[in-house]
Each structure stands twice: as structure tokens, then as C-alpha cells.
């Protein structure tokens, strides 16, 4: 498993050299070997520099963002994180704070995950345990196609089709259902709005669903069949096998998959921009308009300048840091599972 040939392919060359017969062939052979050696070196450094290129790319992005965000960091400092006002028009110095977009980003991602996680895992259970084998591939592929649809299409569809439906049917029903109930009454407070955190969350949920399903399927496949078969043999129902064997076994991987989906939900731009309403005010209701970090950048970047623009880039940097940590956690968890499956 862990055999490591040296990059230059040393052993091969050495043995060949020692056993080479003397004479005209030797020179020929030596030159062939030399060209192999050169080819080996070149290819090694070519691939190595490409790998370094990936590092440079991220470095470049971070440096660029950092230099763009610097003026805003100097102007607002850490206060930027918990200031809830967003008043770019103020003279001479606008008051800008990231609390509104951070709140919107976290809330929409949270609602999206709350919807997409059970549905995504449900689909994965269906595909691995319940679905007839012939239908497994077409249905699995159809769900994965959801991930292939460009995000601007989700935005258009969300705006023209989903939002009117939600606003005219779903939202009024929820509002009247919870009216007067403490807490829930505030969360589902009216009036219904065409552009709202909830509508954005639902679009996001549809978009991350295929990611969760794909990873859940992958990690379910790591469960040794013997474990499942033993449980079935004891007379467990499908659900009991899932609940007591498969899910505990794959728990870490599942959480990793959910986090990976979360990373997607946090950074999604075009689709959210269409339906969220870009309002920086924090309102307790999920039916109120809000904004996310990426929607704020997409909406305001073109018309911004000076500190306002720098603050938008700083928002981008915050988003980058946020996704960085979420993804790092997801990767660590998935790796833990991989190690167990491998060992």
C-alpha cells in the first residue's frame, strides 16, 4: 500500500545501468534512459507546480480580498460585525454593519438545511433500501440533475413561479395559523411578502438537496452489508435497520455531508438575489425581506464606491472565512469516516 517510488524512478534506472552490456548498444541505451529521466523530471515538476498553482490561486484570492477590504477594516474595526445599520448614503462617513447580512445568511442557510436534510436523507434511504434496482439509476440521476441546473435558472423560477405561489397560498395560511401564538406568531408574522427570507430558504433547500442525497448515498454504501444483513436477520424492519445500524454507523459522515451542503447554502448568490429582497433591517419574521452576504454583494457592488465598496468586499471576506470553517469541519468529519471505512 505505502510503497513510495522516488520521483525520478531511481531503482529502475540503477538496475538497468548495472546490467547493461558493453558496446554500441550501451550508448543508445544510456541516451534512452537519460531521456526517460528527463521526461520523468519534467512531468514531476509540471504536476507539482500545478498543485502549487492551486495554493497560489487561493492565496491570490485572499490577498485580493484582503487588500480590497482593508479600508473598511480600518474604518469600522470589529464593530462591523455587530452593527446592524446599513446606511451607505450618509456623509461624510457611511455607517455600515454586517449584522443584517450575517443574520440573513445564517437564517436562510439554517432553514434551508432544516428542510433539505430530512428530505435529502429520506431520498437517500429510498434509493439505497426501498427503490427497485432498475429505477435506482434514473431516479438517482434525476435528483442529481437538480444540482446541475444553473443558479440563475433557480432565481428566475423562484421569482416568477415559486414566490407568487408561496406568497398567495402558503404564507397567508401560516400567518393565520400562528396568529396570536407567542414566539411562533412573531416568526410567522405577516404581511406575506413576494421577496422574503423564507422564499429564499426554500429555493436554497431545493438547491442543496442533491448534495445531501449524494453524500448520504455514498456514506450509506460504506456500511458493511454484513451488519445490515445481521440486523435484518434478527427481524428488524427497514426503519429499525436504518435507525439502529446504518445511521449510527455513518453519523459522522452524514454530519459532514450536511455541513458540505451548508457551505453551498451559505455562498449561493444569483438564486438568492432574485428572491430575498435585500433589506438590511433585522425583522423577527421569516416572511419579511432580508439579505444575505452574497446577495448584498451582488446587489450593491455595481453601484458602490469608496468605503461602501470596501465594506462589501469585507463582507465577501467574512463569507469566505465562514465557509472556510464550515467546510473544514465537514472535511474533517468525512475524513474520520473514511479512515474508519478504510481501516
Amino acid at each position: 500500500m505505502k510503497s513510495r517510488l522516488s520521483p525520478e524512478g531511481g531503482p529502475v534506472t540503477d538496475i538497468a545501468m548495472k546490467q547493461a552490456p558493453l558496446g554500441a548498444e550501451t550508448a543508445q541505451r544510456a541516451s534512452a534512459l537519460a531521456s526517460f529521466k528527463l521526461g520523468d523530471r519534467t512531468f514531476y515538476w509540471l504536476t507539482r507546480s500545478a498543485a502549487m498553482g492551486v495554493l497560489l490561486l487561493l492565496g491570490g484570492i485572499i490577498v485580493t480580498l484582503f487588500s480590497g477590504a482593508w479600508p473598511a477594516m480600518q474604518a469600522y474595526g470589529l464593530e462591523f460585525l455587530w452593527t446592524s445599520r446599513w446606511a451607505p448614503q450618509l456623509e461624510p462617513q457611511p455607517i455600515l454593519g454586517a449584522l443584517g447580512p450575517i443574520y440573513g445568511t445564517l437564517l436562510t442557510a439554517f432553514i434551508a438545511m432544516a428542510i433539505a436534510t430530512p428530505v435529502g436523507i429520506g431520498v437517500a434511504i429510498f434509493l439505497t433500501e426501498l427503490c427497485p434496482v432498475t429505477l435506482r439509476r434514473p431516479i438517482g440521476m434525476a435528483i442529481e440533475l437538480l444540482a446541475g441546473i444553473p443558479s440563475i435558472i433557480y432565481g428566475m423560477w423562484g421569482f416568477f413561479v415559486l414566490a407568487p405561489f408561496l406568497t398567495n397560498h402558503f404564507q397567508p395560511a401560516m400567518i393565520s395559523l400562528f396568529e396570536g401564538v407567542p414566539v411562533l406568531g412573531t416568526i410567522f408574522a405577516g404581511p406575506p411578502s413576494y421577496l422574503s427570507l423564507f422564499n429564499a430558504s426554500l429555493v436554497l433547500a431545493i438547491m442543496v438537496l442533491p448534495f445531501i442525497t449524494a453524500i448520504a448515498r455514498d456514506v450509506f454504501a460504506t456500511v458493511p452489508p454484513m451488519l445490515k444483513e445481521s440486523a435484518y436477520g434478527l427481524g428488524c424492519t427497514t426503519w429499525e435497520v436504518m435507525k439502529n445500524v446504518v445511521i449510527p454507523y455513518t453519523r459522522v459522515g452524514l454530519i459532514g455531508g450536511v455541513m458540505l451542503g451548508l457551505g453551498r447554502a451559505l455562498g449561493e448568490t444569483m438564486a438568492v438575489t432574485f428572491v430575498i429582497g435585500n433589506s438590511f433591517r433585522i425583522n423577527g419574521s421569516v416572511f419579511a425581506p432580508g439579505t444575505t452576504i452574497s446577495a448584498a454583494i451582488a446587489s450593491e457592488f455595481a453601484e458602490s464606491d469608496g468605503v461602501h465598496q470596501s465594506a462589501l468586499i469585507l463582507l465577501g471576506l467574512l463569507l469566505f472565512v465562514l465557509t472556510f470553517f464550515v467546510l473544514a469541519a465537514a472535511r474533517l468529519m468525512l475524513r474520520r469516516l473514511e479512515r474508519r471505512a478504510g481501516g
Binding site: 445599520r85 446599513w86 446606511a87 451607505p88 448614503q89 450618509l90 456623509e91 455607517i95 421569482f159 416568477f160 407568487p164 406568497t167 398567495n168 404581511p191 411578502s193 413576494y194 421577496l195 438575489t273 432574485f274 430575498i276 429582497g277 435585500n278 433589506s279 438590511f280 433591517r281 425581506p289 439579505t291 446587489s299 450593491e300 457592488f301 455595481a302 453601484e303 458602490s304 464606491d305 461602501h308 465598496q309
Partner: protein
């Protein structure tokens, strides 16, 4: 297939493709690129199309927003920039830019109130400002009733709709609200993006129109061309002189005629709340920015030729799309400015 080959073919194909395209296309190097304000996008692209048919020279105008237009011309990535919010003379001097108005347009308030048709509801500046400040909360508020004694107004909450993206349209609208309401000026001010006291943000004109169209008892603002094309319900407005006006080309032109372009440095005239009996209160010019000493003289010359052509032959097209052409006297002044300030040689 050998992978060695595959790599090489991919690389060679990519390079050849790019290089080939670069060579093929040197022929139309005179094509002009400009970018900026969304407000005049329809008319600029209409002009560009007609100009291309007449002269064979293409002008590619992209509506990326006024702020971006200003940035692009500062960064010299385009031959000209376009903005709805004019720069002041200091900013122009600092970046070595020349500014002039190319065409004008108007904004209207649109509403969705059961039983009220276009032009039936009358509003005045302070009332609109109070609605956007969240002080007037329902359609049967005394202030609205007073202006519309004959209308049967519902006792329903007003949904305020505004642009979510930074936009020149918002600049004109908030500039108007600041003109007519001291409270608005203090609390929100004017800009391409402001701190809105209330309201739902919608993306682009389409978003605002869609929202107002779908949401009962809502109010929003769009360009007149937009309201007309999409058959939205607009309101009449009471102007600076206290007259009730309908949005028409005649009232827009009246507002434009009152402006004193000659005295404003950099033609920085904002046309909201103009005096005059027939002046529509929310009218605005949209501006072109070019470098006084352009790096690419050929491009700059081509761009100026295009604008001269548009002043000469573009009036009819502008009116067809509900824009207001610049008066001839102003065009004369602008041409003098070109000769004096832009070094094309």
C-alpha cells in the same frame, strides 16, 4: 487515446482557438465599448443598433450600474462611462473627466389598489415621502383621502416596494423625496442605495413592477417607459407649482426646459422638483463621462461621432421609447464643450 496527446491537443487547441479569434477580429477594432447606468440602457442600445446599420461601427453599451460605469471610466477599461447621478466638478477635475447629459427620462409612482386606474390617484411629494418613511401606514390615511376625495380607498396596510440593487433610478427617486421632505432628507437622504426606513426590496425595474403587480395595496417607483410598456397603474403627482399633472412627454419636456444647463459646471443639473406649471416633478438627465485626454484617441473619436449622430438623428427613437431628447440649445453647448475640453488628437 493517449493522455500525453490529450494534454497536448487540449493545450494547443485552446491556444489556437484564442489566438485565432484574436486575429480574425482585428477588423472591427473601431467598435466602441461603454458601460454604466441602467436607466438609459434601452435607448443607447437602440441607437447603437441603428448606428451600426448606418455606419457599420458597433457601439457596445452594457448596463452595469452608474457606480460601476464611473469606476470603469476611471480605470480606463471603457471608452465612455454613463451615470444617472452626475459627478460634481471637483470629482470630474480629479479624474480628468468630461461630463454631459445625453438624454432625459422620468419616474412615476406605481400602485396596486383595488379599483383605482392609471392616473386616477393623486399624490403629492410630502405624502409620498411619508409613505416611504412609514408614517402613512394605510391607504385610507387622512392625507391620502384629502388628495383623493372621490376615490374609495381601502383600509389596508400599504406595502412599500423599492429597488434592492443600487441604482440610478433610486438616486433620482430619493433625491426627489429629499427635495420635498426635510424629514426624509435627515433620515434617509439621497443616493443610489440608502438606508430605507420601511419596505420590500425588489431587484431591478422588473422586480419592483412584479412586486407591485402581485401584491395588493402596494406602491413602488419605476421609469415611465417601464410603466407604460408594462401597463402598470401609475399615479398623478402634484408638482412644485401646486398643479396636478399626469405623466406625459409634454410635462417631462416642460421640466427639462426649465433647467439652466449653461450655468452648471459639468452640466450638473438635477431635474427633480423643477418650477413651472407644467413641470413633471421627477425628471432626470442621464450623463456620459469621458476622459479629457483619452488614451485611445481613435476610440474616443468614434464615441464622440456616435454621440453627435445620436443628438442629430436619435430624437425620434428616444421619444418612441419615452425618453426626452436634449433641447437643441443644450446640444450646441455640449458640442462646444467637446471641442474645448476633449483632446482627440
Amino acid at each position: 487515446m493517449n493522455f500525453n496527446k490529450f494534454f497536448r491537443t487540449a493545450l494547443v487547441a485552446g491556444a489556437a482557438f484564442g489566438a485565432g479569434l484574436g486575429v480574425v477580429s482585428q477588423a472591427n477594432a473601431l467598435d466602441i465599448t461603454g458601460a454604466g447606468a441602467t436607466f438609459p440602457f434601452p435607448i443607447y442600445s437602440k441607437w447603437a443598433d441603428a448606428y451600426k446599420k448606418e455606419t457599420g461601427i458597433g457601439l457596445n453599451y452594457q448596463s452595469i450600474g452608474s457606480g460601476a460605469g464611473i469606476k470603469q471610466i476611471q480605470a480606463k477599461t471603457v471608452a465612455f462611462g454613463a451615470t444617472d447621478a452626475p459627478l460634481n466638478i471637483d470629482q470630474l477635475k480629479k479624474d480628468g473627466l468630461v461630463q454631459w447629459p445625453q438624454v432625459m427620462g422620468a419616474l412615476v409612482a406605481i400602485i396596486n389598489v383595488d379599483g383605482v386606474k392609471s392616473g386616477e390617484m393623486v399624490l403629492d411629494g410630502p405624502t409620498v415621502a411619508d409613505i416611504y418613511l412609514g408614517k402613512i401606514k394605510t391607504w385610507d390615511d387622512a392625507a391620502i383621502k384629502k388628495l383623493n376625495p372621490k376615490l374609495n380607498l381601502p383600509k389596508a396596510a400599504i406595502t412599500v416596494v423599492r429597488r434592492s440593487d443600487g441604482s440610478g433610478t433610486t438616486f433620482v427617486w430619493t433625491n426627489y423625496l429629499s427635495e420635498v421632505s426635510a424629514e426624509w432628507k435627515a433620515k434617509a437622504g439621497s443616493g443610489t442605495a440608502v438606508e430605507w426606513p420601511v419596505g420590500v426590496g425588489a431587484r431591478g425595474n422588473e422586480g419592483v413592477a412584479g412586486n407591485v403587480g402581485q401584491t395588493m395595496n402596494s406602491i413602488g417607483y419605476v421609469e415611465y417607459a417601464y410603466a407604460k410598456q408594462s401597463k402598470l397603474t401609475y399615479t398623478a403627482l402634484i408638482n412644485n407649482a401646486g398643479k396636478t399633472l399626469q405623466p406625459t412627454i409634454a410635462t417631462f419636456q416642460a421640466a427639462a426646459a426649465n433647467a439652466d444647463w449653461a450655468k452648471a459646471p459639468g452640466y450638473r443639473v438635477i431635474l427633480t422638483n423643477q418650477p413651472g406649471d407644467q413641470s413633471w416633478p421627477i425628471t432626470a438627465g442621464t450623463f456620459i463621462l469621458m476622459h479629457a485626454n483619452p488614451a485611445d484617441k481613435a476610440q474616443a473619436n468614434a464615441a464622440l461621432k456616435f454621440f453627435a449622430w445620436a443628438f442629430e438623428k436619435g430624437d425620434k427613437m428616444a421619444e418612441d421609447l419615452d425618453y426626452i431628447p436634449m433641447p437643441d440649445s443644450v446640444v450646441k453647448l455640449i458640442k462646444q464643450t467637446w471641442d474645448k475640453e476633449i483632446q482627440t488628437k
